[in-house]
Symmetry: D2
Subunit: 162 residues, 4 copies
C-alpha cells in the first residue's frame, strides 16, 4: 500500500514556489509516494505536474464540485470534487502520512495548523513563522530550505513508521 504525502501551497504563488513544488512532485513520484494536493492552480498544479511527469499518481482534492479549469485538471490522476469549500483542507490533511507546505497564505496556514493539530509530520519550505503570546517561537512545524530536504525529511518519517 503506497504512502501518501499532502503538498500544500497557494494558488497564487511565485515562480520559485512553483519550481519548488514541481521538484517536490518529481521526487515524491520517484519514491513511489502518492501525492495529494488541493487540486487548484499554483503550487497545487505544479506538484501534480511534477508527480505525473515522473509516472506518479497525483490526487486533487478540490473545494468545489467542478473538475476545474483544464490547466489545473491536466495532471491530476484522480479528482475529488468535494464541494466542501475550505472544509476540504481537513480531508486533505487527515488523508496524509506527512505534509509538505510550500510558501505562505491563509489557506496554507490552515492546513499546516490542522496537520499540527493531528500531529502529522509537517515540513515548510518558504513558509511563515509563528510567535506565541509569550514572545517565544511556537515549535512543531519543521522548516526546510530546499525541495530535496523537504522530500528527504518526509520520506524519513514514512520509513520510520514501517
Amino acid at each position: 500500500m503506497a504512502r501518501q504525502v499532502a503538498v500544500c501551497g497557494p494558488a497564487d504563488c511565485t515562480d520559485q514556489e512553483r519550481a519548488w513544488a514541481h521538484e517536490v512532485g518529481t521526487r515524491l513520484a520517484d519514491a513511489g509516494v502518492v501525492v495529494l494536493c488541493g487540486g487548484a492552480g499554483g503550487v497545487m498544479a505544479a506538484v501534480a505536474a511534477g508527480a505525473t511527469a515522473h509516472g506518479g499518481i497525483a490526487v486533487g482534492i478540490r473545494p468545489d464540485a467542478a473538475r476545474g479549469p483544464a490547466d489545473e485538471a491536466a495532471n491530476l490522476t484522480v479528482t475529488l470534487r468535494t464541494n466542501l469549500g475550505q472544509a476540504r483542507n481537513a480531508v486533505l490533511i487527515t488523508s496524509a502520512d506527512a505534509v509538505i507546505a510550500i510558501g505562505g497564505s491563509w489557506g496554507t496556514l490552515s492546513e499546516v495548523a490542522l496537520a499540527m493539530r493531528r500531529a502529522i509530520p509537517t515540513f515548510w519550505l518558504g513558509g511563515w513563522s509563528l510567535v506565541g503570546a509569550d514572545g517565544q517561537s511556537v515549535d512543531g512545524v519543521v522548516t526546510v530550505d530546499s525541495p530535496e530536504r523537504a522530500v528527504t525529511a518526509a520520506l524519513n518519517v514514512l520509513l520510520d513508521e514501517h
Copy 2:
C-alpha cells in the same frame, strides 16, 4: 483525463453482490475508468479488488481517519481518510461522473438519493424500488440486471458527455 465512476454498496453483502462488484471493477478498469468507492468492506472491497486486478486505479473514500483493516486497504490505490462520517457519501457521489449501486442498504440508499439529487446518471443492480406517496413508482434510477449491463450503461453515459 480519466473518467470516474462511483461504485456503492453495503459492507455487509451477499456472495452474489460481492461477485457482481468484482466484475464491475474489472470491467471499469478495462475501460480505463477510475473506480471510486467507500473504502470499507463488502461491495467496496470487492470492486477495488476487481479494478486493481485488471490494472486499474481504485480510490477508497473512507468515513473515518484510519487506513482501515488490511483486507479493506489491500486493493486501494489511494485512500482518502475523510473523517467526515457519512458526510463522506456526498464527497463520493459529487466526485463521480456516473454511479453504479449494487445491493440495498440505508447507506447505499443515501448515496443513490444524493446522486439523483445532483442528476448524476445512476444504475442499480439488485437494489431497492421507490414508491411515491401517490402509489406510483418514482422514476430516475435505472435498474440493471447484470454487472455487464451496469458498466455498459455507465460507459455509454460517459461517452455521450465527450
Copy 3:
C-alpha cells in the same frame, strides 16, 4: 438541555406539506424542542415559521455560505452557513434526537436514509415507500398520517430516552 428534532422536506413542496410543516413546528416549540432544518424554502421555511411563531428556536443548516433569501432567513433563530453542499444533510441528521420527514424528494430521501443508517427514530408524513430486491417492504421508517401523530411519536421517543 433541550432535545432537538430535525424536520426534513422539499424546498419545492405542496400547500398541504407546507401546512403540515408549520403545524409540526408549532407543536415541537410548544413541547420545548429545538427544531433543526435545512434552512431553505418550502417545508424548511414553514417548520421554522411555525416554531418561532410559538416562541421556539429554529436552526437552519444551510448547504451554502449565504444567509439565504429574506423569506427563508426570516424565521431562523440561528443559521449555520455550512458551505458543505449536500454533505450538510449528514450534519443535520447526526445532530437530531429524532427525525420527522414531510413529503418526498431525493434530498429528503437522502436524509431519511442517513437517519436510518444511524438508527435515529424517523417518522415520515406523506413520504415514499421502499421495496427491497426481494419484493418485500423495507422496514424501519415509521409512516405517520398527521402532523400531530408525527410530533407525538417523536416526543414519545425523546421521553423514553430520558
Copy 4:
C-alpha cells in the same frame, strides 16, 4: 435576524483565557448577538456559560457525534453534532459574521486562518503572531488586549454591515 459571532480558543486553556471567554460571552449576549463556538471545554465552555448567563443563545458546533460531557453541554442552547472532525472548524467560521479568538493553539490557529481566508473580520486576544518568509509581520488579524475591546471591535464591524 440576529448577528452571529464565533468565539474560538483552546479546550486546554489558562484561567485568564477562561475568564476572558466568559466576559466575551456575557458582552455578546448583552448585545443580542448569537454566540457560536466549538462545543467542547475550556474557552468554548466558558463563552457559552457567559452567553447563557446573560440570557443569550450559545451554539456548540462539535467535531464528533456526541452531546459531549455534561459540563461542556450544560450551557449550550443548541448542539450541532457534526461528526466532521476538524472539518467542523470551517463550518464554525463560515457561519460567523465576525470571529473572536482567545489564546493560542493549533486548532485555534486553523480557525483564524480560515477566517482570514474568507476575509471575515477577526480579533485575537492573547494569540499568536505571524511572521512571513520575508521576516515581516503578516497583516490581517487584529490584535486586541481585553474582552471589552474584542467585543466592541466585533460589534463595530456588525454595525457597519447594516
